[in-house]
């Protein structure tokens, strides 16, 4: 399963509406996780490789303060998380690159914030 799908399972306590790579057309408050490329894979002798994926997590909420609160919860949930398993995939760690970035409001008046994470997953 895709890394973005795996990471979305860590955020369901913050918001039920989580989407991958698509901002929904309707007006709901949501979290969208975008696959954002990443550096090359690391290979190891012995058949292991480490997938490195960058994810951009976008928080969209009509209430700006709530959006910020969600961002802080996302940070608390996953920034620095290490050595864990999701869907039988072994993750080394997740780190936040930089910090919360405000993108203003969209045409429907909803606040947008983004955070960029780097994730490492070992594949045996």
């Amino acid at each position: 399963m895709n890394i973005a799908n795996d990471i979305s399972t860590l955020l369901t306590d913050i918001c039920e509406n989580i989407y991958i790579d698509d901002i929904p057309d309707d007006n709901e408050n949501c979290i969208v996780i975008f696959n954002s490329g990443g550096p090359r894979t690391d290979f190891y002798m012995g058949g292991v490789k480490t997938d490195k994926q960058r994810l951009q997590i976008r928080v969209i909420n009509r209430n700006r303060q709530t959006a910020l609160d969600w961002c802080e919860k996302i940070k608390n949930n996953i920034d620095g998380k290490s050595s864990f398993t999701i869907n039988n995939h072994n993750y080394n760690f997740i780190t936040l690159n930089g910090n919360i970035l405000n993108l203003g409001r969209d045409s429907r008046g909803k606040a947008h914030y983004i955070m960029n994470f780097q994730i490492e997953r070992s594949c045996f």
Partner: protein
């Protein structure tokens, strides 16, 4: 033909040389190895000769490995089976061209380091205590 480094394998066995690769334990999570075979070179200069004369002296070998400790299920239940001062046979196997070399060594150094924002890395150095031998595949 390019031989990809990741297809190489490292094997070890405590206290004796390996009969073949099946007789050893494969090490995982290795990022780099150096298998150095050396010969001392003795130089002589003689009156009346325009060039130096060189002769091979004693031979030596040392091996070093570096790697990373990754997430669970990486094959390491604890730490390494060997300690510094132990006798271990270390072998390298280069796939695609099917060449293996091994040597009985003394574990000279085990280094573990950790970066709070990164992974735990290790490096191990071995000094040979015997001749370099061929490491066979069982097939």
């Amino acid at each position: 033909m390019v031989v990809a480094g990741k297809n190489n394998k490292i094997f070890y066995k405590m206290d004796s040389l390996m009969i073949n690769t099946d007789d050893g334990t494969e090490m995982t999570n290795i990022t780099n190895y150096n298998f150095n075979e050396l010969a001392e070179i003795l130089e002589s200069a003689f009156f009346g000769r325009e060039r130096k004369v060189r002769q091979a002296g004693v031979k030596d070998c040392n091996v070093s490995l570096t790697g990373e400790l990754l997430a669970e299920s990486n094959g390491y239940d604890g730490f390494f089976e060997f300690e510094v001062g132990d006798t271990v046979a270390i072998g390298i196997w280069i796939e695609k061209i099917n060449i293996g070399r091994q040597v009985l060594c003394i574990v000279q150094k085990i280094d573990v380091s950790a970066d709070a924002s990164g992974k735990v890395t290790f490096s191990i150095s071995f000094e040979s205590n015997g001749a370099v031998e061929t490491l066979e595949s069982p097939y």
